[in-house]
């Protein structure tokens, strides 16, 4: 295989080596990580245009073909998530650099920010490795290992802040992800016991509703639902995301949750879709509806900004899951691509929101919503970033969220599924309530507070704005990612032909 073909490996190996080097050479850890993030962005770009030119590609690692060896695959959905992770990776790295430099200048406990920064970079790089590995991997056991990498590094990042609340949350997060991975592993074992093959392409070809596969799908789906914190099993997400450091919450909410969701999406739509009846999809839909409504209600109860954003993640995840029955019933690729389009839109918005929340906390010293009046006086760019991200969450026109909401509603109404349509609308009303509750506080400058725009750390404000504008831009440039997804359709046919060179 040509040298040029091995670009597919870079998104996994660049962060991997960066993690090692960052752990070793602590002083240059930021530059190494940034280089790795940019390199993987470049690699993803190359992969995307290669994908557009000659369709999905497969890459057998170590030269061994699928039944024996592991094979990395790039198809529509995977590339969308790769692009998202790469872009978010660069953004978060920049933000983290700004965040830690500011924290080191004004530490609350001597030595703590240095520790946090020293260990942040390797863990963050490992997280990126796990995520990229998950999106690319074509082997079901390898997915388990990547899930573990993501799980442990996420828990480690959550525990980084050192407060007892975040330690409790990290421990609970670790145990939950342990349980989720274990049930996923049991599912893998059942699959292996039934088909004796680990490669996704071969599995997709052989997928048929046998009891073994049914047990596997049940366990895997429930495990992944737990790791994606869907409605009844969301208890671990808010404390973990709210108490972590700002860049860490951005990573957790924006990327980590999407990783396990992507795996669930691939299992349900890509590989074992013949096994799943309509009732299963409707069950998933009801979970999603529960998440939207329950998350929305809980969000309105919160008094702290980061908890509010965390619970809004719970609610927004409901949107992703409610799209399952729509995609199944609708049959058209619209809801199918809407799910991933909404996932990427939501990720950008959520990262921007947590970044701005972090900047606000650094500046105001607290994140009680009631006392945030007039933040725009000091942090205009951050306030605008938060508002733009909020616009995307609600799904107002210029944003990607609107396009996704539009696609979902179209499928719902075309398929006469009134319940889901009503829940979607109720969800967007709740979203309006909690976004504008904060935006009103941020944007309104009480008459006595003068407007001074002291330049804060640039690195803190601009990444948030870039991510927020990106989520808005998604709305306007929707056709391009969607074309990627449409191309994804061909993948299914390609996979069935026993992919791999």
């Amino acid at each position: 295989m040509a040298f040029a073909d091995s670009w597919i490996v870079v998104p996994v190996f660049a962060p991997l080596t960066a993690a090692l080097l960052a752990f070793l050479v602590r002083r240059a850890s930021f530059f190494i990580s940034l280089a790795a993030a940019c390199l993987s962005l470049l690699a993803v770009a190359v992969l995307v245009n290669r994908f557009l030119v000659n369709g999905p590609a497969a890459y057998a690692v170590g030269g061994w073909d699928p039944p024996l060896g592991i094979c990395l695959r790039t198809d529509g959905p995977a590339l969308i998530m790769l692009v998202l992770t790469a872009v978010a990776g660069v953004g978060i790295s920049l933000y983290a650099k700004g965040y830690f430099t500011l924290r080191i200048e004004r530490p609350s406990r001597v030595g703590r920010p240095e520790r946090q920064e020293r260990f942040f970079w390797p863990l963050w790089m490992l997280q990126l490795t796990g995520l990229n590995g998950l999106y690319l991997s074509g082997d079901i056991f390898n997915l388990y290992v990547t899930l573990e990498v993501i799980g442990v590094s996420a828990a480690a990042l959550a525990a980084l802040s050192g407060k007892s609340a975040s330690l409790i949350a990290a421990l609970r997060y670790l145990l939950v992800s342990l349980l989720g991975s274990m049930s996923y592993l049991l599912g893998v074992v059942f699959v292996y016991k039934t088909y004796g093959v680990l490669d996704l392409g071969l599995l997709q070809a052989a997928a048929a509703p046998a009891p073994g596969v049914i047990a596997a799908m049940a366990l895997m789906s429930v495990g992944l639902l737990l790791k994606t914190a869907i409605f009844p099993m969301h208890f671990w997400l808010p404390p973990a995301h709210a108490n972590a450091l700002a860049p860490v919450s951005a990573i957790l909410s924006g990327l980590v949750v999407k990783g396990s969701f992507f795996l669930l999406f691939r299992l349900w739509f890509d590989i074992f879709s013949p096994v799943l009846p309509a009732a299963a999809f409707n069950l998933m839909g009801s979970l999603g509806a529960g998440a939207i409504i329950w998350g929305g209600v809980q969000v309105l109860r919160q008094q702290r900004l980061k908890l509010l954003i965390a619970y809004s993640t719970v609610s927004q995840l409901g949107y992703l899951v409610i799209a399952f029955p729509l995609a199944f019933a609708g049959g058209s690729s619209q809801a199918w691509s809407a799910v991933l389009f909404m996932a990427s839109g939501h990720a950008c918005a959520k990262i921007a929101m947590f970044m701005s929340a972090g900047t606000i906390m650094l500046h105001a010293g607290h994140d009680r919503i009631r006392d945030l009046a007039g933040i725009r006086a000091y942090l205009p760019v951050t306030a605008f970033a938060y508002a733009a991200a909020g616009v995307n969450l609600i799904g107002l026109p210029p944003s990607g969220g609107f396009i996704a909401k539009w696609m979902l509603l179209i499928t719902a109404l075309a398929g006469h599924q009134w319940l889901w349509a009503v829940v979607l609308l109720a969800g967007s009303f709740l979203a309006t309530a909690y976004v504008f509750r904060v935006v009103a506080q941020l944007f309104v400058i009480p008459p006595d507070k003068p407007v001074i725009t002291r330049r804060r750390a640039g690195l803190l404000e601009w990444p948030a704005l870039i991510m927020a504008l990106l989520s808005l831009l998604l709305g306007l440039m929707a056709p391009y990612p969607l074309r990627l997804l449409e191309a994804g359709q061909i993948v299914r046919t390609a996979m069935t032909m026993g992919g791999g060179p």
């Binding site: 090692l20 056991f141 906390m361």
Partner: protein, 343 residues
């Protein structure tokens, strides 16, 4: 002969289940840990019974050999902190208002009833599925055998581990490193400056055992290419040596400067990554080893991985980063007032 074997299997299975049940029901966590160690040993027995020597060795060395001491060390630290009150539930997940799972007077609240019922139901379903799955399909055994020759090793497990599914192992080694990094990022190694009164017997035993353990570890690593053994098992044994050093008076590990330790930890993954890079340069595919050099390369890789795995497992036992690395002033009350509290 067959009857004997089935009898043995039955007995083994029952003891395993009984041990697991006891492990959960026992009120005293120390007792539970001891049960867990026995459970681990019996598990390795089961692996042997099922012709999986590598796994048996790994289970014995890592599954029980190291996990047991980890639990014991953790228990000691938690007990000492909690001032010896038995089994006081730490803050844990704070508002855990659920029913107290006291091993003895387990009042089964309706909630617990439903949980138990559901678990049994799930178990029933899984077992039913296992029972009706038709004859197991031919696994990958013949493919492995087929291409064993090019893999450079003749122990199939090592071949699969390092060559055919080398990517998995790479990620696995990275998980280990990740574990080490996480442990280091959480806290300092909670070791007292001087172990007060290590009995002379222990000192002598340590001085005797150390070279032996290193020898056995090295041999295991070397043997991996031919029969059961390999980086993980060898590494685990090496870590036992380091653990011994830790608990006896040679407390140089926590006092050491962190750079050499960090080098040691990352040695294995670094070599693995270099090999992968080499594979790309030479063979234009990741992790592809030229057939003729596969053997020695894999051996070199095994050695490096074995060393770093040993160090990592020791770091797990140490439970924190070296004392000298990244000191943090203890939590000073007045710091709260000043600058913004860290998020």
């Amino acid at each position: 002969m067959k009857m004997l074997l089935t009898g043995f299997d039955l007995l083994l299975a029952l003891t395993l289940l009984w041990l697991a049940w006891q492990l959960l029901r026992s009120t005293d966590i120390f007792k539970a840990i001891i049960f867990f160690i026995c459970f681990g040993l019996l598990m390795s027995l089961a692996w042997v019974r099922m012709h999986a020597p590598d796994v048996a060795l790994a289970e014995a060395a890592i599954g029980t050999g190291l996990t047991g001491p980890l639990f014991l060390a953790a228990l000691r630290r938690i007990e000492r902190k909690a001032g010896k009150n038995m089994m006081s539930e730490p803050a844990g997940n704070g508002e855990e208002t659920g029913s107290r799972w006291k091993a003895r007077n387990r009042e089964m609240s309706p909630l617990l009833w439903t949980v138990t019922a559901l678990t049994c139901c799930l178990a029933g379903l899984l077992i039913w599925t296992v029972l009706i799955i038709p004859r197991p399909l031919p696994g990958l055994a013949d493919q492995v055998a087929g291409s064993l020759a090019e893999s450079g090793v003749n122990n199939p497990v090592t071949a699969v581990l390092l060559n055919f599914r080398g990517y998995d192992t790479l990620l696995e080694v990275m998980v280990l490193l990740l574990g080490a990094i996480t442990v280091w990022s959480i806290t300092h190694a909670p070791f007292p400056p001087r172990v007060p009164d290590t009995s002379p017997v222990q000192k002598a035993a340590v001085r005797l055992l150390l070279p032996l353990i290193c020898l056995i570890g090295g041999y295991l690593v070397w043997q991996g290419a031919y029969q059961t053994g390999g980086a993980f098992q060898g590494g685990a044994v090496l870590s036992a040596a380091l653990v011994l050093l830790l608990i006896s008076d040679f407390l140089w590990l926590p006092g050491m400067r962190s750079l050499p330790l960090r080098l040691g930890l990352t040695l294995g993954p670094l070599v693995f990554v270099l090999l992968a890079g080499f594979g790309i340069l030479v063979e234009k595919t990741l992790l592809r080893l030229p057939v003729e050099y596969a053997g020695p390369l894999l051996l070199f890789l095994e050695a490096a991985c074995g060393l770093s795995i040993g160090l990592t497992l020791a770091a797990f036992f140490a439970g924190g980063r070296p004392a000298s690395d990244l000191r943090e002033t203890p939590y000073s009350g007045e710091a709260k007032g000043k600058g913004p509290a860290e998020s």
